[in-house]
């Protein structure tokens, strides 16, 4: 039973990290209706900046620079690419983000090579033990940070003028523009926020027990896609729930792998996608997504 609780806690902690990534994904989708397939590379960029600077600057300043850097990369993608598109087809823009992703990932993967870079986090491999349950400090830090950030973000979304502008833009771009909301600034902000959240997530994807930042980290980031989708692409609550579902599923599938050997090895990587597929079969718009209402 204690194994189960350990797995559950670890799963919730990883899930909160996925929720951070998925939240950025949802924010971009709500503000611009673009599905950002370049999200994994934003995350890799943030992680790479932190990893390469922490020796010189120390961990916290490096993390700050990494977060700011990823936000700048995100904003730059919006400003240099997304904004230049003249058409109106959002699925074409999704493919553009794939092009951006190919560019960024190739560059970062080339710089990383086969290296595994530590991010120099202060938690190391310390483990907290409560009774029979032990959990790594990094996991607690991940959960607390993610919870704080998500709360802060949701509050900002509700109560600041920035949040109101963003919700208005998501509701109806034309009306929002007529009311004086600057749509360009809203989408720029959305991309920057998504980049910053992804950089924080990059930190927690690469700390103990994972060895460090490597090429495969962007694969881990891909798990935020099912998180965002199964919650519903246009719902922030959905991103949260989706992230937790994905985290817990992954942790349990990995933890009980030995009892599931008939399904093959490496089931943990697959489980989130299976859960997503099942949920989409039942609810095609995700758990909390708004069903499309169309007028001809």
């Amino acid at each position: 039973m204690s194994t189960f609780f350990e797995l559950l806690l670890n799963g919730l902690s990883m899930g909160s990290v996925y929720a951070l990534i998925a939240l950025g994904f949802v924010v971009i989708f709500r503000a611009t209706e673009v599905v950002n397939f370049a999200h994994a590379s934003l995350l890799l960029a943030g992680g790479y900046i932190t990893a390469s600077l922490h020796d010189d600057l120390g961990f916290w300043p490096a993390l700050l620079v990494g977060v700011a850097g990823a936000a700048v990369v995100g904003a730059a993608v919006e400003f240099l690419v997304m904004r230049r598109y003249r058409g109106s087809d959002h699925s074409v823009l999704a493919i553009v983000t794939i092009g951006v992703d190919i560019l960024l990932t190739t560059e970062l993967a080339r710089r990383l090579g086969t290296d595994v870079l530590p991010l120099g986090d202060p938690w190391g491999d310390d483990v907290l033990s409560v009774g029979p349950i032990s959990i790594a400090h990094t996991r607690i830090a991940a959960f607390v940070t993610a919870a704080l950030l998500i709360t802060a973000f949701l509050l900002a979304f509700r109560h600041t003028s920035w949040g109101v502008a963003m919700r208005a833009a998501a509701e109806s771009p034309q009306t929002a523009a007529l009311m004086g909301v600057r749509l360009g600034r809203v989408s720029l902000g959305a991309w920057a926020v998504a980049g910053a959240l992804a950089a924080v997530a990059a930190l927690f994807l690469t700390v103990f027990p994972t060895p460090g930042l490597e090429r495969a980290t962007s694969l881990a980031a891909l798990k935020a896609f099912p998180a965002a989708i199964l919650g519903g692409l246009d719902s922030t609550t959905g991103a949260l729930v989706g992230g937790l579902v994905v985290g817990v599923t992954e942790a349990l599938a990995t933890g009980y792998q030995s009892e599931l050997t008939f399904l093959g090895r490496g089931l943990g990587d697959l489980a989130p996608y299976l859960v997503m597929t099942v949920i989409l079969l039942i609810r095609p718009a995700g758990l909390f997504g708004t069903k499309e209402l169309a007028r001809v």
Partner: protein, 373 residues
């Protein structure tokens, strides 16, 4: 009077154009047919990869380009084609499952198998839209990779498995050399012609689909799904059907790729491959057969070209020497090409030639609809 003159001038211009186009086609055919006699193995293999990629790209262009269904799972269906062929045609000599069917039956069945897999996915494919579908198809990649690495009896695990050579009409597509006009004909030379025939057949079929009633229905679904349903297009059936057709194209591409590679490995059929196919159709031109072929040729030949001439090119260095490797350089190039094409050349590479061919887009569509009416 002037109207008649203008019309006759226009028709004269058009016959000139069709004649010029016929000459271009004839020249291209002659060059393609002559290539195995002049090119060495490296280029023939590169060309064969491009042909296989072109077949796959036509398939995904029917789905993503013409019908607007974003698919990131194309590599999965390629894998089914490639591995399906190996399993059905293998003789079990290497300790892996092999049914030992005649190879041409195995190839046909492998394509059917890919179509079947597409059909099984259609309950999902038929209900999801846009990004939801894109990410749901991403699941296929991960499921595919999982199966490829774990179903050891079928796939050989991470080592992959050998591909049995194709036998057709008493001809074996392997290295047993036949000499034609003093040129030794190995696997690449023989497959070259098989690839050309397959590509031509696939291209013509897809063109027929796109120009006929189904093509219009598909475009209608892409442009406005609800309106298409209202005017009587069975939307769900069409979307499932296109998904199956596109999977079959991918399956055929997979079979051809396997025959060229002569060995299939699971790593190849990952997400990168799916992204490459999307890049191909965007660069070439969404929704057209020639666009898919052009994009496939560009994206699949680019790394080969850069590898071959990496010594002579500035900024590109041999793999492992620390600089930009050819594979990476080609990824930069086509990644940038995807972005640039969407921003500055909507419609892709084919639009360049199309623009030169017809004076204004309006007149050409106007006359063609006038003719059919």
């Amino acid at each position: 009077m002037s109207d008649v003159l203008a019309r006759s001038a226009r028709s004269a211009g058009r016959t000139l154009l069709t004649r010029r186009r016929a000459y271009a086609w004839a020249a291209a055919t002659a060059v393609l047919l002559a290539m195995p006699f002049y090119l060495d193995r490296f280029w023939l293999q590169a060309g064969l990869f491009a042909m296989a990629a072109a077949i796959g790209a036509i398939g995904i262009n029917l789905l993503t380009g013409a019908t607007g269904q974003l698919s990131m799972g194309h590599a999965f269906f390629l894998a089914i084609g490639a591995y399906g062929y190996c399993v059905l045609a293998g003789d079990g000599g290497d300790g892996l499952t092999g049914l030992g069917l005649p190879t041409w039956i195995a190839a046909t069945l492998a394509v059917g198998l890919a179509g079947l897999a597409g059909g099984l996915f259609s309950p999902i494919a038929g209900r999801l839209r846009g990004a939801y579908l894109g990410i749901a198809t991403l699941a296929l990649i991960f499921i595919g990779q999982h199966v490829l690495f774990n179903a050891h009896d079928l796939t050989g695990g991470s080592n992959g498995r050998d591909v049995p050579p194709l036998h057709l009409f008493g001809l074996t597509f392997d290295e047993s050399e036949a000499v034609v006009a003093a040129v030794p004909f190995g696997a690449a030379e023989k497959l070259w012609y098989a690839g050309l025939v397959l590509l031509l057949a696939c291209g013509l079929f897809a063109r027929g689909v796109l120009r006929g009633r189904p093509g219009r229905a598909m475009n209608a679904i892409r442009d406005h799904r609800v309106a298409a349903g209202v005017i009587g297009v069975p939307v769900a059936r069409y979307r499932a059907g296109v998904f199956v057709l596109s999977s079959m194209y991918a399956g055929l591409a997979g079979v051809l790729l396997a025959l060229v590679f002569q060995r299939t490995v699971p790593d190849y059929f990952g997400m990168t491959l799916s992204l490459e196919y999307l890049a191909m159709i965007v660069i070439g031109g969404l929704g057209s057969v020639s666009g898919a072929v052009a994009g496939a040729a560009l994206v699949s030949l680019l790394p080969q070209l850069l590898t071959r001439y990496s010594d002579a090119l500035p900024l590109v260095s041999a793999p492992g020497s620390g600089g930009v490797a050819p594979g990476e350089a080609s990824r930069y190039l086509y990644g940038a090409a995807v972005v640039a094409v969407v921003l500055f050349l909507p419609g892709g590479l084919v639009r360049i030639t199309a623009r030169r061919g017809t004076p204004t887009p309006g007149t050409s569509s106007g006359t063609s609809s006038g003719e059919t009416a």
